[in-house]
């Protein structure tokens, strides 16, 4: 693939650190073999760069200058108060918590008693208990994805979640991934989620830094989710960072017949984030709503890349992304919708919009429709605009000072995407999180 390309320092560091930590990673020999294969795949592919179409705007090869030492083994245990402070507005949510600190499951901070129908096992424990399940836990779903390969190779922990058929969770399940280490680390986590037929679940993943943690870290986070027939799942991911951290996220979802999968990502302020989301409809009548807000200031860079595979007929997909870009902040949206031959009556709509608060901000939006069926409705749109001065004048004419008017209008813009989150407390907590970020952005 990369014939002629020299290995970068970061690429070398990843392969070398694998050799150093492989023996300490969870899982028996079968799992280790899977990991070896994965690092081999990564070594062959290298870090993606701009000549790889899917990475056109996020040239990891040049941006990722080094790979930090992998976070392996025991991690610090912060106090619950410190964890809540890191979670900010998300801390007040009434949820079942699963807490992972620096890539290690923390039983003390996690909810001990889960309701009937919900089973959560730390990934490390699942790998240790049943080696034969390794393939389904850390095996690669896409064999040509270097980021997923790194995840398979290094994943230390995460949540293996199983929701029973027909279960309706009374509270959301919150998976907290906090970083505590004062040293810069490379953290790798993976969740494997299986939602039973007809189940109703809200799953929230939160990625936050604890006070005193290093400015930078690298987090490779993967979540695989299988949504059973007729199930309804809301899957929220919130990345709330401080301007320097690197987040490489991969989500893979399979939507069963008549199931609804609503995904939402709030990405606020990592230095570099890639949210790549791969969704496949596996049964007719499935519905997808994949939306998000991306907030970038300074030199922050947030890339959302979706691939929606309409493999079967009669499915519906909706995407709405709204970003606020300030300073030299950069937002990227790539939305690929594939309508397979025979996937008739597909209904797909996509919209990506950016609010540009600075002349140096950049928004790159690339829809890709690959349609191989003839009876389908597919549409896409994209806009990039400044705050409408007429709107500001209207607010000011009613006595609202300019700064407050701008904040109100920016919030409204973000809020339109947040509306997609149906769970009200979760939506409010996300909105408040965005508000905190928006108020803070001018300070740095």
């Amino acid at each position: 693939m990369n014939v002629g390309l020299m290995k970068t320092k970061a690429e070398q560091a990843f392969t070398e650190s694998f050799d150093a930590v492989a023996a300490k990673l969870p899982g028996g020999e079968a799992v280790r073999e899977l990991r070896r294969r994965a690092i081999g795949t990564f070594a062959a592919l290298g870090l993606p760069h701009r000549r790889v179409e899917e990475w056109k705007y996020t040239d990891l090869r040049s941006v990722l200058k080094e790979a930090f030492a992998p976070a392996v083994g025991k991690a610090a245990t912060p106090s619950e108060a410190d964890l809540n402070a890191a979670l900010g507005p998300l801390a007040a949510l009434d949820v079942y918590r699963v807490v992972v600190i620096d890539g290690a499951f923390n039983a003390g901070l996690s909810t001990a008693q889960l309701p009937e129908g919900l089973a959560v096992k730390p990934l490390s424990a699942a790998l240790a208990e049943s080696p034969e399940a390794g393939e389904s836990i850390v095996g690669m779903k896409r064999d040509q994805d270097p980021i997923e390969a790194l995840n398979s190779a290094f994943a230390t922990d995460g949540a293996v979640v199983r929701v029973a058929d027909g279960a309706e969770l009374d509270k959301p399940l919150l998976l907290v991934f906090a970083r505590a280490s004062a040293e810069r680390k490379s953290i790798t986590t993976r969740n494997v989620v299986s939602i039973g037929k007809g189940a109703k679940v809200t799953l929230v993943e939160a990625f936050v830094p604890l006070a005193g943690s290093a400015d930078e870290d690298q987090h490779n986070a993967a979540t695989e989710i299988v949504v059973g027939e007729g199930a309804a799942v809301t899957h929220v991911k919130a990345i709330v960072e401080n301007g320097k951290a690197v987040h490489l996220g991969s989500a893979t979802a399979e939507i069963g017949a008549d199931a609804t999968y609503r995904a939402f990502q709030l990405t606020a302020g990592p230095g570099l984030a890639r949210n790549q989301i791969f969704v496949k409809f596996t049964g007719e009548g499935g519905k997808l709503d994949c939306s998000g807000s991306f907030l970038a200031a300074n030199n922050e860079h947030i890339d959302t890349t979706l691939v929606v595979d309409h493999a079967v007929p009669h499915c519906e997909s909706r995407e709405l992304y709204k970003g606020v870009l300030d300073g030299r902040g950069r937002g990227i949206f790539q939305g690929k919708v594939i309508v397979q031959p025979g996937a008739q009556k597909t209904d797909g709509k996509q919209m990506a919009q950016a609010l540009m608060l600075s002349p140096d901000a950049e928004f790159d939006s690339k829809p890709e429709l690959e349609i191989y069926a003839d009876d389908v409705i597919c549409g896409h749109g994209s806009t990039a605009a400044e705050i409408d001065p007429e709107h500001i004048f209207y607010c000011k004419s009613r006595g609202i000072p300019e700064a407050e008017a701008r904040a109100l209008l920016i919030e409204a813009f973000v809020g339109e995407a947040m509306e997609k989150v149906e769970d009200e407390p979760v939506r409010e907590a996300l909105m408040e999180t965005a508000r905190v970020w928006l108020n803070k952005r001018t300070a740095s």
Binding site: F393, S397, R398, G399
Partner: protein
């Protein structure tokens, strides 16, 4: 008291003068109407009072209670009691009407050194004022003016006015796009606000509105100047004769 003296205004970045020496005085407690042909500068005058940026005042002054409005930002003017009911009220996607009203009201209260209203206090006030204007509070949960009919937008402007309780009300063609029933509701809303402490400037193209909001004085604005001033009978006369006299005059 509103005092406009020798006001000259052009569109910023353009040379054409729109207002060429407007003189107008409205004492507190009075309602004045400005009528005039299309393109005479009526809306320009309204926007300049509110402080829209696209215009440049090249000469003259506007004093409200002795203070120079032209030196103030639009929000400072609002704090001093200036309110413009827009001819084309803005749609603001994403901002719920109630949020907008509450933000505006509390911003003004803060500047006037009054305590902010609590949610129940605010809701009670909105319900009461909205009911008088035949506005369903449910409608105010939707984004400001988005998807409203022309009449609904105008009523929502008057509701804002009723809540913010300005002391200088400028109504720019509030009658346009209203059917007779809506016109009556809007006029009742405006009349309810008439008070000895409040000055009003009603801009309209047609006399019809002035049957409902009876002015103390009527001014004819044409070619950028006040051409004639009279009492409410002037409006009736204009309805008969039209603006031909003024379009030929200058």
């Amino acid at each position: 008291m509103l005092e406009i003296r020798n006001l000259h205004v052009k569109i910023a970045d353009e040379d054409t003068m729109i207002l060429k020496g407007v003189d107008l005085v409205i004492p507190k407690g009075e309602v004045h109407a400005i009528m005039g042909p299309n393109g005479s500068g009526k809306s320009t005058l309204a926007y300049v009072l509110a402080g829209r940026e696209d215009y440049e005042v090249t000469e003259g002054e506007i004093l409200w209670n002795g203070e120079n409005l032209l030196e103030m930002e639009p929000d400072e003017r609002a704090a001093k009691g200036v309110f413009l009911a827009f001819q084309y009220p803005m749609e603001i996607p994403g901002v719920a009407g109630l949020t907008f009203l509450r933000t505006a009201l509390n911003a003004l209260r803060k500047r006037r050194e009054q305590p902010e209203l609590t949610t129940p206090e605010f809701m009670k006030l909105v319900r009461e004022r909205a009911a008088k204007l035949n506005i369903d509070v449910e409608m105010l949960k939707r984004p400001v003016n988005v998807g409203f009919s022309g009449g609904e937008k105008k009523r929502s402007e008057i509701l804002q006015m009723a809540l913010l309780e300005p002391s200088l009300c400028v109504l720019d063609e509030t009658d346009s796009g209203l059917d007779i029933d809506a016109l009556r509701i809007v006029a009742d809303g405006v009349n309810a606000l008439r008070s000895p402490d409040r000055a009003m400037l009603v801009i309209t193209h047609y006399q019809r509105l002035l049957n409902y909001i009876v002015p103390d004085k009527v001014h004819v604005l044409a070619y950028g100047r006040i051409q004639r001033t009279g009492d409410k009978e002037l409006a009736v006369e204009l309805e008969r004769s039209g603006y031909a006299e003024f379009t030929k005059a200058a």
